[in-house]
Symmetry: C2
Subunit: 208 residues, 2 copies
Amino acid sequence: MTRAFTIWLTGRPRAGKTTLGGLLCRALTDLGLAAEYLDGDELRRALSPGLGFSAQERRSHALRAAYLAGMLNRHGVICVVGLISPQAEARREARRQLGEFVEVYLDCPLEQAINRDQTGLYQKALAGQIKNLTGLDDPYEPPQDPELHLHTHRQGPRECLEAIFGFLDQAGLLPALGARADSGQAAEVYSPAEERQIKQRLRALGYL
Amino acid sequence: MTRAFTIWLTGRPRAGKTTLGGLLCRALTDLGLAAEYLDGDELRRALSPGLGFSAQERRSHALRAAYLAGMLNRHGVICVVGLISPQAEARREARRQLGEFVEVYLDCPLEQAINRDQTGLYQKALAGQIKNLTGLDDPYEPPQDPELHLHTHRQGPRECLEAIFGFLDQAGLLPALGARADSGQAAEVYSPAEERQIKQRLRALGYL
């Protein structure tokens, strides 16, 4: 069984969670790994259609994602979670439940998020048509000590991806990737040369 | 990747879903397979604490379990779902979404279910203290054409387990089990002799 873990992308709406989360999950899959992307909006549709946006409901949403990620992790599936998850306490609880937890803060200042928004989400909120948008009506508590702090208004998806794989490498999580990438081999140890190969494969696949 | 599937245990409260589901999941795991038991009551606690028991909510509950099972199946994890799931239409929709679907009807007549109940559930419902109990206030639509129809007031858990493994064998689902049981071997074909070994291993493990 591979040593699975959860990469938890937190940040304001339009900070780039869905874009980076999808790309990261595809990169892991292309490396031959079992990976799943759990998107906050899709989880609301599939599992919690009646759930609102109060503090308690946001906490509940985050812990449902953690429950799902934990179940997948137990079966060796790496999870990428993309969720606003604005509450520091809820993220801490997710970390406590999951154990192997990589918190990645996608930091995008509010004005930049508004500028990037092509969907009219912020405009609707500014016009009072929708409520409880994180960063406007609702607080976002930035992570104080995330494993990674990325600035998505300055760093593009590829640069973010490279930073995440760099972290996984340093944290010793790439060996687990290597074991699975060899599909069926039970190799537990992964040499530095082989770790470089992972980066090379990501470049060859066009991710880096 | 193994050919994963979902075994869907449906039946009235106290028909034996949780007992058989847990036993079946442990037997699959002891065979070296990736398996998960999704229990209706636990899913309500973990994912749908606010969900009630109206027809629409029961349907939603069943489809949330199917969503979770589908995600696990995609990663080669066999799912055992234990859920009253009283609506034939919701079970059909779960089958449609999942594809590889083994519906097992745990048939226990109401009076037997009441007799078996050590928890006071039926007594409370008969006294009017709880409402919407399937089989009393709420309808249970028995499967018309399940893969297996077991009579849990007459057949004990071991007999039920043997019937389920017999079905999986006949349906050609045991070869997939065999491939995973050899941990890492990519054997796609499983001979009749090897299929008999699965039964022998289950007996040796004390399940049959």
